[in-house]
């Protein structure tokens, strides 16, 4: 009933006319409703991403031709900071649905979707590609229909990777959602009712009590989702693990146990899911027995794929042409702004990474080498990290302005908030993975502290550190878009940077600059990934791998 009522009110709200002056109620009693709105956005975007990623990955893995195009594309899209698209998406969505709230909502969902889908699609693709050859051969030899193969082999095989990536994606989704909910376009306040806008409004008003309540609600929602959704799913997905022997301890979930014991649910499943599955599989099995039809279908599929490819190429060419035209109208000063901004942002991000590494490496190693400590510290750090950084931006800004730091420091603090956790987690993981016999060897050789770091610890955590840096750098580029330009109590703070250029162009409706800056930022991220991180990554996975063979 509650669910139904919730859906109904959501629907009523979406079709309501757009409210240009968002009214955010700071009363804590309004928080559950805001939380529901935020969760609903995430959920819709997530299911959309799930569907698209499975289809994308499936097509890329099953067609060699599509693979050649789709995988490099995926690789590039995956590394472009999603918030680059925020202004563009919002502007076009509001233009498409000028009269209803639906436009802004769709915009935010589309944006969250864009942030979620690529790594999930990649996970689907690589799971499908890594199905053991002999299993595929068994499927071919016994002539499994595509449906039976999907249900009995491919979906189970991709489950674990997809679930982990879903968790990461949803965490990223919160990040994007917070930004969307606080979004202001020029003089139009497009803020969406939700936890993000609540926190922002509370900081604007300096309402400490509301800020605290908002943060509590945020953490509660994230913990609830973790316990009610992810834990049960992870425990359930244990059976898709590929290990040869049964693990001695596997994650459990009280919720899952409850669901499993429920008689009602199993009754419902046995009269609905099982027969439907049987009927579908038998249907496709029979359909497969006629080889002639397959030939005809293949012809059809060939034609469809040609037409689709032609349409896509046409669309891309048209868009590129349009963009080219738009870019020609850039003034020289705009170009200078963009490139100066790019340089400044790049330096700011690298500085942030260095600062983050400086505190996380010693702390992470300290924690990681002490199993008892990491058992306590890890969950706490996880909760801290699960609060999406943009939710904290208004609060940090509020504090810094009170103590009198400029946006220069604030932006770096903001970037740190968004990035340091990735490095910390990875360092802890790396340090706790150092085998104890290696530690003992160091003891017996009486290595000095410096030698120990140089010979054992740094090499051991290096691959993990690189992984952390790669993720952190991606997050930092994303955060830079909102960390360099801020409206606060009707004042505008901004510093030199690409993010500021983008935000300013958005406010001013200057589309050529917006486009140019977006292209530059995407190109930079992709280049840095290719030239630096990927190489370090290869180095880490070959040279510094702890191998015992």
């Amino acid at each position: 009933m509650a669910l139904f009522y919730g859906l109904l009110s959501l629907a009523r709200y979406w079709t309501a006319p757009v409210n240009t002056q968002a009214n955010i109620d700071l009363n804590p009693s309004a928080l559950p409703a805001y939380a529901l709105f935020s969760v609903a956005r995430i959920a819709v975007a997530y299911f959309l991403s799930l569907a698209v990623s499975v289809i994308y990955g499936y097509v890329a893995a099953n067609s060699a031709k599509a693979e050649r195009l789709m995988i490099p594309l995926l690789d590039t899209l995956q590394s472009i900071p999603v918030l680059c698209f925020l202004p563009g998406v919002m502007i076009s969505m509001v233009a498409l649905f000028p009269t209803t709230q639906l436009g802004v909502e769709l915009g935010s969902i589309l944006l969250i979707f864009t942030g979620q889908v690529w790594n999930m699609a990649f996970s689907v693709y690589s799971s499908l590609k890594s199905i053991p050859r002999e299993m595929l051969e068994a499927a071919r030899l016994y002539r499994l229909s595509w449906w039976q193969k999907l249900v009995q082999l491919e979906l189970p095989h991709m489950a674990i990777g997809l679930i982990w990536n879903s968790m990461m994606s949803v965490a990223g989704g919160w990040f994007a959602l917070m930004v969307c909910e606080m979004f202001v376009l020029g003089n139009r306040d497009l803020r969406l009712p939700g936890l993000g806008s609540y926190l922002q409004t509370a900081s604007n008003a300096g309402a400490t009590r509301s800020i605290v309540w908002g943060l509590i609600a945020m953490v509660a929602v994230i913990i609830l989702i973790d316990q009610l959704v992810w834990r049960p799913i992870i425990a359930w997905s244990e059976k898709f693990k590929f290990e040869q022997v049964e693990a001695s301890e596997s994650p459990g979930s009280p919720v899952l146990n409850f669901l499993r014991r429920s008689k009602l649910l199993s009754r419902i499943a046995s009269v609905s899911v099982a027969p439907a599955r049987e009927a579908l599989t038998l249907y496709f099995a029979r359909g497969d027995a006629v080889p002639q039809a397959a030939h005809h279908e293949r012809n059809l599929a060939k034609w469809t794929s040609w037409i689709l490819a032609a349409l896509a190429t046409g669309g891309v060419l048209y868009a590129v042409g349009k963009m080219g035209l738009m870019l020609t109208s850039l003034a020289r000063s705009d170009l200078r702004d963009i490139f100066w901004g790019a340089g400044a942002t790049f330096l700011r991000i690298e500085l942030t990474l260095v600062l983050a590494a400086l505190w996380t490496i010693p702390v992470g190693v300290f924690i990681g080498l002490r199993p008892k400590l990491s058992a306590i510290a890890q969950p706490m750090a996880q909760i801290a990290a699960s609060i999406p950084a943009p939710a904290l931006f208004p609060i940090v800004l509020l504090l810094l302005i009170r103590v009198g730091g400029g946006l220069g420091i604030a932006s770096i603090v903001l970037l740190l908030l968004g990035t340091q956790w990735y490095i910390l987690f990875n360092v802890i993981a790396g340090a706790s993975a150092i085998p104890s016999d290696l530690k003992e060897v160091c003891e017996t050789f009486h290595l000095s502290k410096i030698q120990r770091w140089r010979k054992l610890i740094l090499p051991a955590i290096f691959p993990y550190l690189i992984t952390g840096f790669v993720t952190a750098s991606g997050g930092a580029w994303n955060a830079s878009i909102i960390a360099e330009y801020f409206r606060f109590r009707n004042q505008t703070f901004s510093i030199t940077g690409l993010g500021a250029v983008i935000s300013r162009a958005t406010d001013a409706g200057n589309f050529p600059v917006l486009l140019g800056a977006t292209i530059v930022i995407s190109a930079m991220v992709v280049t840095v990934n290719r030239l630096i991180w990927r190489r370090l990554y290869t180095l880490a996975s070959t040279r510094f791998k702890l191998e015992f063979t």
Binding site: E134, Y142, R143, K239, K241, V245, A285, P291
Partner: protein
């Protein structure tokens, strides 16, 4: 040349001209005739041998390798066999008999001395051969000149299977033997229709695979079960694919599970079972569809010795007791004893590229005793065949298709193992049966073959007729102390191993005496597959470092010229 003559002879045989073939052989010089005869497929040899006049058979028989003669003789009826042996030149006959291992010698002398043909071993075989000759059985699978080449990433091709003809007849277990990496699995995949050959065609019941749906099943070495399905669900997978409805599917899956001894495990997941039990599920899944041909790709290799033996026994019980409707079993293995134990017919594959080296029947009845004379004779024969490349008895591969290879494949063996083998031989007085050594060391052919090949390549040993014998340099190596050994190893390696010669001279000529290993990898890439390149480089590094030819800097993946003072440090 006898290759073209063999081709000519085969064409004649193909047209059914057995008598003309006999006439041609009669005209030839006996050694040439024997040579030509040997280069034909064994199936043809068998039929032709039966048609040879006794005199000619007696003239040719002693020229063949003795074990081959033994097998051929036993493809005759007993009377014929005795007639041929008695017609042999007495000196040649006693030489032939002397060469036989003890068990085989005992058997043939018994056969020669006892005159009642009843209940004889060879009798049974000769009947089956006669059957075949009278009404040639329609093969289930027929492969015509199939070959396989794989695309390499750099665009080149690796020929894995040379043009091959093969047929699988109903009622037999065929074993395909060969060292690992020789292409057995590839051949199996082509026969079962899983992969298309690069050239040639595979026919099932005379029809190409595109027009027929072969009823085949495969048992995999890795089991290839779906870990998220229960045992029962796994067995139901192929039935479900055929659209068998729930009740019937359930019944058939349960019945198959019971027949392989898995009653009570229906709801278990594969990971809860032991390896042997898992492979039973593999068998059940394969047998559930009542396949016409049951393919097995090293089904027992992942299991421990006792479990494997047990499972083999149960398989034979199902097969011999005709409890399964399967018409033919095609078993891929690298275990010689397993092949001789189970198979009615054995095909031995050579490598690089794979071609049929020998194809013969195992003419003694089931159940077979592992230490019976005939069993050991066959095991011995196959060992010899596999260790001696020149013994090729398969159909000639078209010469122009041979892959050009300037590099010889480096056998993947550690210097320590080579030294071990040489020492063992020295302890045994310098000469020993390879089969004995393998047995004594509890090593499978796959493990010991590369070591023997390596020792042969370094000319520490030479192998002949399946015996291996120390050479003088091998003897010196066995008796030397460690530092002398290194010098001897270095000399032998530089004299015989192209890759090491190249590495050495490259290092000598470079001013900084160092060289990236990548360079040699690239060179090898043109000749070998990625895995092979990896293995060869690894071997070369091992040998080079052992022989102090160079040092290897793993940080930078470079070779450095060996500097004695540094190494002593």
């Amino acid at each position: 040349m006898n290759r073209t003559r063999a081709d000519e002879l085969q064409t004649i045989l193909g047209q059914g001209g057995w008598d003309r073939a006999v006439a041609i052989l009669q005209r030839l010089d006996p050694t040439v005739a024997a040579d030509t005869f040997m280069s034909m497929p064994y199936e043809d040899q068998q039929v032709l041998f039966r048609r040879l006049p006794i005199e000619l058979a007696a003239k040719l028989a002693p020229i063949f390798p003795y074990y081959h003669t033994f097998v051929l003789l036993h493809s005759l009826s007993k009377d014929q066999m005795i007639a041929v042996v008695e017609k042999m030149n007495p000196i040649e006959r006693s030489m032939f008999l002397d060469e036989l291992p003890e068990g085989a010698w005992q058997q043939i002398t018994d056969e020669l001395s006892e005159h009642q043909p009843a209940a004889s071993l060879a009798g049974g075989v000769s009947i089956s051969v006669q059957d075949r000759a009278a009404a040639p059985m329609q093969p289930i699978i027929e492969a015509r000149w199939i070959e396989k080449a794989f695309q390499r990433p750099d665009g080149g091709q690796i020929q894995v299977i040379a043009p091959t003809n093969l047929s699988v007849e109903p009622g037999v277990i065929v074993a395909l033997l060969g060292p690992s990496g020789s292409g057995k699995s590839t051949l199996l995949r082509m026969l079962s229709g899983l992969t298309a050959p690069s050239a040639g065609e595979v026919l099932w019941h005379g029809k190409p695979l595109s027009e027929s749906t072969p009823n085949a099943a495969i048992v995999f070495q890795s089991f290839a079960l779906f870990p998220w399905l229960t045992v029962l669900e796994n067995v139901e997978v192929p039935l479900l694919a055929r659209g068998v409805k729930h009740a019937e599917r359930h019944r058939r899956a349960l019945r198959t599970l019971h027949s392989v001894g898995l009653k009570g495990f229906e709801t278990a997941y594969p990971k809860e079972l032991s390896g042997g039990m898992r492979q039973r599920v593999g068998f059940a899944r394969a047998l559930a569809v009542e396949p016409e041909v049951l393919f097995m790709d090293e089904p027992f290799s992942a299991l421990d010795v006792l479990t494997a033996e047990n499972l083999r026994g149960e398989l034979m019980e199902l097969w011999l007791g005709k409890k399964i409707p399967t018409k033919s079993i095609f078993l891929v293995t690298h275990n010689i004893e397993e092949a001789v134990l189970l198979a009615d017919r054995i095909i031995v594959l050579g490598r690089d590229p794979a071609k049929v080296r020998a194809d013969f029947r195992v003419p003694f009845p089931q159940p077979r005793e592992r230490n019976s004379a005939e069993f050991l004779l066959y095991v011995d024969y196959i060992y010899k065949l596999m260790t001696q490349p020149e013994l090729a008895a398969g159909p000639p591969a078209a010469a122009d298709r041979e892959v050009k290879k300037s590099y010889r494949m480096l056998p993947h063996a550690r210097p320590g193992s080579i030294a071990g083998l040489v020492e063992l031989l020295n302890d045994r007085g310098g000469k020993e049966d390879l089969y004995r050594i393998a047995e004594e060391l509890l090593m499978e052919l796959d493990d010991i073959l590369p070591i023997v090949e390596a020792a042969t390549l370094l000319s520490f040993v030479k192998s002949e007729h399946g015996d291996i014998e120390l050479t003088s340099s091998g003897k010196a190596f066995a008796e030397a102390d460690i530092s002398t050994r290194k010098v001897q190893f270095r000399e032998a390696a530089l004299a015989h191993v192209t890759l090491l010669q190249q590495m050495n001279s490259a290092l000598q000529s470079k001013s900084d005496h160092s060289m990236p290993v990548e360079l040699f990898r690239d060179t090898l890439d043109e000749h070998f597959s990625d895995d092979d390149v990896q293995r060869q480089i690894e071997t070369a590094l091992n040998w080079g470092r052992y022989g102090d030819i160079f040092a290897y800097d793993s940080e930078n993946d470079r070779l450095l010229m060996h500097q004695p003072n540094l190494a002593d440090h």
